[in-house]
């Protein structure tokens, strides 16, 4: 039957469901077009489930395009907290005529499909799906005849239908909408009306023929909903960032834009003056140049970018390494190589960032897994950068940066900012000598002074060319060796300063090692391995490069370690291979996922069980 011909009556018809209900364990996919305003409806859905205390996660899959192209929103609710992406869709909301057929075709038999009967789509509806048709467009039109408004409201109508089908609490939907539209009461009322339309239509016409249901839980106390980019922005603002140089690039743009908003809100003094300076640069080379110039002059400076920007920063990154200038670079990774898939997620820049720049350069990286950690690590990044006098790359990804995450609320950082080894005039008076690049403390980290320091010993000359411990130009082999070996030593010291890994080690032979957003799927993955294949695996989450010594120790305790990488080449595994003692290498296996979609547990479970011969 062609969709065009479906009668309202037929849409909810059939036997009412009589099996076991599937409570708080399902995934929804909403197919729309981008620019159609479905984001609000999806957020209301997410917020409603969140407010009902059920663990939930939502992810946008959107095109690199401004308007009119297909977009999907996937939502996962799970009582055990497995809120990562799930490959299988339990409930499809089909709103986009362009992708209607392929969306429908992609589903497993028995999937629930809620669709818009007002769509003009040729072709047959599958009869092995559980179908619910609703005239979304018409219902939205009943709320407002305005064409533009109607388009937006159409999305709210499906929230109404879902409210009925899943058993969402209308009071929570109501609250979520009011929150979403904040001060705009009229808009909120219209949207609520649209939801009601959908709800009432569904109540009247749809016989519930599936088991998907929500039940209130109490899992979200003390939690917030936030995008990772906003979290990182808050982290920077609460940890003393003063200088931002940047150039827009998806998916990092919103990190800087949020930083600017928070700065304006939180960092303007009573006289209206700002404790920060932000400049939109002409490109990434200039952006990182500003960061390095500011870091050299003593400021906490940052930029945010993605792969192409990182590549462009390569020359400057080598300058910072060799001249030992601090700075923080948020790399919100997207799919490469080259422009790649700018609106898809990956962890593909580890190798190129670790070795960013020619000639024996090495860089420091942090790997936040969720908004809370993005907030915390933004702080650690500034501390580390100033402590180590290096650039610190915070390796976010699009999934973390641009999706809404349910996260633990952030804890106020009350440790003082670590401004590193900076000598004031008074210090110099006391010490009586200063050699910018000398290892005084035996940790490979020298002391520095800031421009403006009037002590006669303070001024030194910084150069990316060869220099000796006193910062004088030198091409002497022994001077070169001294600086280079001290830099190696500094990176060894860094192992003690970077965030320790998190692990759960029950003494199993097998372990999984993951980092960043992959973590979200790991509990579920380990659960699947245990439940379905009897494989008990320990777990370690790497949080920084260079690796803490405990990463080595963890691997040493295991026989086989599956390294989860969201890239083609197993880049974390490669970095581990280069870092571990040679006799540990045979332990490492790769479990890869690299198609641009957020990681799902099943992919990793499959990769591991196959290698375990199950």
């Amino acid at each position: 039957m062609a969709v065009e011909s479906i009668l309202p009556k037929a849409q909810g018809a059939g036997e009412a469901y009589s099996g076991e209900p599937r409570v708080n364990d399902w995934s929804i996919q909403v197919a729309t077009a981008n620019g159609s305003g479905s984001q609000s409806a999806n957020l209301v859905l997410l917020r409603t489930i969140f407010n009902m205390g059920v663990p939930v996660g939502g992810k946008n899959l959107f095109p690199s395009n401004i308007a009119g192209m297909p977009t999907w929103f996937t939502l996962r609710a799970h009582h055990k907290g497995f809120t990562g992406r799930k490959k299988e869709v339990d409930l499809l909301v089909a709103m986009n005529p362009e992708t209607f057929e392929t969306d429908m075709a992609a589903q497993a038999p028995g999937t629930v499909m809620l669709y818009n009967t007002d769509l003009k789509v040729p072709g047959q509806l599958r009869d092995d799906l559980i179908l619910y048709g609703v005239p979304f467009t018409r219902l939205a039109g009943e709320v407002s005849p305005d064409v533009k408004l109607k388009k937006l409201l159409t999305n709210m109508v499906y929230v109404g239908a879902l409210t009925h089908l899943l058993g969402l609490e209308m009071a929570e939907v109501d609250k979520a909408i009011r929150r979403q539209f904040k001060s705009k009461e009229k808009a909120a009322n219209l949207n609520i009306e649209a939801v009601r339309k959908g709800l009432e239509y569904a109540q009247a016409n749809l016989v519930k023929r599936d088991g998907l249901r929500i039940e209130r839980m109490n899992q979200n106390g003390g939690k917030i909903i936030i995008e990772g980019n906003h979290a990182a922005a808050l982290g920077a603002v609460f940890n003393g960032v003063t200088v931002v140089g940047w150039y827009p690039i998806t998916p990092s743009t919103s990190l800087v834009e949020a930083t600017m908003e928070y700065l304006q809100e939180l960092r303007v003094e009573p006289d209206g003056k700002a404790t920060y300076a932000v400049v939109q640069a002409e490109d990434e080379l200039a952006a990182v140049g500003m960061v390095i110039g500011a870091g050299w002059a003593g400021a906490r400076a940052m930029t945010a970018t993605s792969g192409p920007g990182i590549s462009l920063m390569s020359e400057f990154a080598g300058l910072a390494y060799y001249t030992e200038v601090p700075g923080v670079i948020f790399n919100v990774q997207r799919v490469g190589p080259s422009t790649g898939l700018p609106t898809r997620t990956a962890q593909g820049d580890l190798l190129s960032t670790a070795f960013l720049s020619h000639g024996d350069t090495k860089q420091v990286m942090l790997f936040p897994r969720d908004p809370k950690e993005a907030f915390d690590m933004a702080g650690s990044a500034f501390d580390l950068a100033e402590r180590l006098q290096m650039l610190v790359f915070v390796m976010m990804d699009l999934d973390l940066g641009m999706n809404y995450w349910v996260s633990d609320a952030f804890v106020y950082p009350d440790k003082p900012l670590d401004r590193g080894k900076v000598l004031s005039k008074a210090d110099l008076d006391r010490i009586g000598s200063f050699d910018r690049y000398l290892d005084v403390d035996g940790d490979g980290i020298p002391y520095r002074t800031l421009p403006g320091n009037e002590h006669p010993l303070a001024a030194y000359f910084t150069r990316g060319s060869g220099h000796n411990a006193s910062a004088r130009y030198s091409e002497k082999p022994e001077d070169y060796h001294y600086i280079m070996d001290r830099l190696t030593h500094k990176l060894e010291t860094a192992r003690d300063y970077v965030p320790e890994p998190e692990s759960s080690d029950a003494g199993n032979k097998i372990a999984i090692l993951a980092y960043g957003t992959s973590d979200l799927a790991m509990a579920e993955c380990r659960d699947q391995l245990r439940q379905e294949f009897g494989i008990e695996a320990d777990y370690l989450r790497v949080r920084a490069y260079p690796f803490s010594r405990s990463v080595h120790e963890f691997i040493a305790r295991h026989d086989r370690v599956y390294v989860v990488d969201q890239n083609r080449d197993g880049q974390m595994r490669q970095l581990l291979t280069l870092d571990l003692p040679d006799d540990q290498h045979t332990k490492l296996r790769s479990a890869l996922h690299y198609d641009g979609l957020p990681l799902d547990a099943r992919s990793i479970t499959d990769a591991i069980r196959a290698q375990e011969g199950k």
Binding site: I224, F238, V241, K273, D283, G289, G293, G298
Partner: protein, 347 residues
């Protein structure tokens, strides 16, 4: 300050000339860049600016080595090729109390650094920006740079085919607020132009023709010392009256033959008009003059353009009075209450 008083051993900051010197130059002897260095030293000395309140920034090239050779007591940063302006911008953002001086070359700023040059002019980043312009890449041994004149000959005898970039015309076009051309062989004027640049608030761009005696000083080159010496046309004579010196009454000029440009620190540049009727506060006159000079192949020096009422980048950012770099924790970390409020809103 070309109109200077009797010789003295210290300046108003109580410092001697020695306090403004740098390491001995390692450039070729006779290199124009060293002549610029001398006038930079003189200018900071004359104006009595404390060297540790200066930050020196440069790119890569023979010219970019210069900051090592002046103001030893100022911090210096010799960055990467063509990217001095972004470093300088970062320094200005971090600590707007510093007097920033950037030294670059024609290759550094008009080839690889074009983008940063252009956008720094546009932003009016407060700094003195000196381009030691010799028409070649000195450090890589004499290739034509983008400022080489069409038809100018290389040491090997090849004629340049490309149209030159006129650094001053570009700067004026883009919005720089103090644009001048000097010549390393004309130290008196150069000194005044640098002093004026230091006194200016905003981007002060100085294009200084500075012959490369090793690779571009031959017959047929339009950037040789001899050529420049012979062809230099000063569009006016200049004096800087520093803000801390009483204005002397000078009566030797015809009325209408003199005007003053008041600079931000209260100093002013007194301009004695020469041949041309030319107002350096008019952007269109300045541009027209440049086009004309290019057409006539004239080598003009002097203050080409000054715009003293435009806001610079840092003023536009409206930052607190103290350097951002060293604000105490409590001024750069909002309160716990602020975070709690945000968390509550997100719950």
């Amino acid at each position: 300050m070309a109109v200077s008083s009797a010789p003295q051993t210290t300046n108003r900051a109580g410092l001697s000339k020695n306090d403004y010197k740098g390491a001995p130059s390692t450039l070729c002897s006779g290199c124009g860049h060293d002549a610029i260095t001398s006038q930079i030293i003189n200018a900071y000395y004359n104006l009595g600016i404390k060297p540790w309140e200066v930050a020196k920034v440069s790119g890569i090239g023979c010219s970019s080595k210069s900051p090592t050779y002046f103001l030893n007591r100022a911090h210096g940063f010799n960055g990467v090729h063509g990217r001095m302006p972004s470093l300088a911008t970062g320094v200005a953002m971090a600590n707007h109390k510093l007097n920033i001086i950037g030294v670059s070359g024609d290759g550094d700023s008009a080839a690889i650094g074009t983008g940063q040059f252009v956008h720094t002019m546009r932003r009016n980043t407060p700094m003195v920006y000196i381009i030691a312009n010799n028409g070649v890449y000195g450090l890589t041994k004499g290739q034509f740079s983008p400022t080489a004149d069409a038809g100018s000959k290389s040491k090997g005898g090849r004629a340049n085919e490309q149209r030159p970039i006129d650094i001053c015309a570009m700067a004026i076009q883009l919005g720089a607020t103090y644009v001048a051309r000097g010549f390393s062989g004309d130290p008196k004027q150069l000194l005044t132009l640098i002093e004026g640049a230091i006194a200016h608030k905003g981007t002060a761009l100085l294009d200084v023709i500075s012959p490369c005696v090793t690779f571009n000083n031959h017959e047929g080159s339009t950037k040789s010392y001899a050529y420049a010496k012979e062809h230099e046309i000063r569009i006016h004579e200049l004096d800087l009256i520093p803000h801390f010196e009483p204005i002397e009454v000078v009566g030797e000029f015809e009325p209408g033959q003199r005007r003053e440009v008041r600079l931000h620190d209260g100093s002013f540049l007194r301009i004695h008009k020469l041949e041309r009727e030319f107002d350096p506060t008019s952007r269109s006159q300045a541009l027209a003059l440049c086009v004309q000079a290019e057409e006539r192949q004239e080598f003009l020096t002097g203050l080409l353009y000054a715009e003293t009422d435009r806001q610079d980048l840092i003023s536009g950012l409206n930052v607190v009075d103290e350097p951002l770099a060293t604000l105490p924790d409590e001024r750069v970390r909002p309160s716990k209450a602020a975070l709690d409020k945000i968390m509550a809103e997100l719950m």
